[in-house]
Symmetry: C2
Subunit: 276 residues, 2 copies
């Protein structure tokens, strides 16, 4: 593992590290914020999964999460959104290929050679963090934005024993019924409708739900509402009686100005679960 | 004036606007955050001047100032750091030309055609803001980072009737005795030593001081300490008995992780002065 940068930040350290990923068969880069408490022992860990076109860097520099994580003594990890590199498959569409891993394990060529973000985020990267950093893997929680909100929700519902709470900012909420989801799931996973359904947050809420708390924020002026389909998620939450807070935030769009406005609520929400 | 973007942000609006600048003889872009209170009338205004290579965007997206400005009901303006465009002079050195205006009015060719950031930031842009937005120009305050800290300090000390308080993050503190300052002041202003001295924060503290409060933060692990010369500013402050808080922050570097860590203190400091 290589240290790309370490900056003092809110009393702790904001680091950027790269490492060879066996799962993705390429070098991967991630950001990790550790509060000062990590000097004395392992701290709880909140995952932030980012959206289309993002790297590890966007949320790390724009979301403003570190101040609130420091206040609660919890760590933050910012993975990349896909495998990357000259030898990694890509596509002209920004919603496919590099920068658009959709947090699945691809089964179709050419994607299956590298695009295994599900296993990377849920297996290889947490193991690496546990080995090299003072993080307490028995206290994890997960959030994300847009495609990363989709990732957070779908991962948490499949692995409720691992994540104590889940939240999302403007998540892709109904991938099997959206231009942001259907074409990508078909490319990555083939024509297997059951496989697609395992990566649709609204369908997962309807079918299995999440045993912990869930927090969703969605701006009413989001320019991608027709692709995100929050109504499917709201319906599923209400129909299942899923423990959840679902907020439509008037006037907010899809940008990091939206994320940064409500990040304090989300970090507070996860800290409650992580420290309970 | 053209609206490039407006995003809901902490209950207010983060906007980006461009306009034809007569002073700089080119199009200029700036960011402006207005809290919700601006809907009911003019709000106080805090200027954030950025450093080398920055545009209007860096501090606007990375400093995390909006949450604190919203809490105090004050506006934030993020000007660009220089004139820009194909017809504007530039230099291969990132510390000279576009992205490196040093907040002076250039008198030397080729720079004098456009590089008039002093007049732009102190005259043309505030007038434009007063005309188009709900800002109270009788309540202004100023801060900045690195080259922008230099700009904030030098501007405030020359125009103490305009700015109620001044602060800086890792300012270029002694430009006439630094590789970040001396070559640029010579290029922009010629060999006029008195003109150079008017743009040296430490010399201005020694010679005239500032009638209001001053707050300086400097990281002890800043990679540019030899160019910033905080010791000159600390000496000048102490020698003059200037009202000031000068903080050396252990372990922090020159990055926006440093700025974001202490931005709350700075916005609180300015809000106290702006609302008194």
């Amino acid at each position: 593992m290589e240290t790309k940068a370490e900056n003092a930040c809110f009393g702790g350290t904001q680091g950027v590290y790269s490492h060879r990923s066996e799962v993705c068969a390429c070098d991967m880069t991630f950001g990790l914020f550790l509060p000062v408490e990590a000097k004395d022992g392992p701290v709880p860990l909140l995952w932030f999964l980012s959206g289309l076109t993002c790297t590890h860097e966007n949320a790390m520099t724009k979301a403003g999460a570190q101040s609130h994580a420091a206040a609660h003594g919890i760590g933050l990890v910012f993975p990349d959104t896909s495998p990357r590199g000259e030898d990694v498959a890509d596509d002209d569409d920004f919603a496919m290929g590099q920068g658009a891993g959709f947090y699945v394990n691809a089964t179709e060529a050419p994607w299956k050679a590298n695009f295994r973000m599900w296993d990377y985020v849920t297996g290889e990267l947490p193991a690496l963090l546990g080995e090299h950093f003072a993080v307490d893997l028995s206290r994890q929680s997960i959030t994300g934005h847009s495609m990363g909100g989709h990732g957070a929700l779908t991962i948490a519902m499949h692995m409720p024993e691992t994540y104590r709470a889940v939240s999302a900012f403007a998540p892709m909420a109904n991938t099997t019924d959206s231009d942001w989801g259907r074409p990508q799931l078909r490319a990555y996973l083939g024509d297997d409708a059951e496989a697609h359904a395992r990566h649709d947050a609204s369908r997962l809420v309807a079918e299995r739900g999440f045993p912990g708390p869930m927090l969703i924020d969605q701006g009413t002026s989001d320019q991608f509402l027709d692709k995100l389909k929050p109504e499917a998620l709201a319906t599923a939450i209400a129909t299942r009686r899923q423990e959840a807070t679902f907020r439509m935030q008037p006037g907010y769009d899809h940008s990091y100005f939206f994320v940064s406005t409500f990040i304090e609520d989300h970090v507070d929400f996860h800290a409650d679960a992580l420290w309970s």
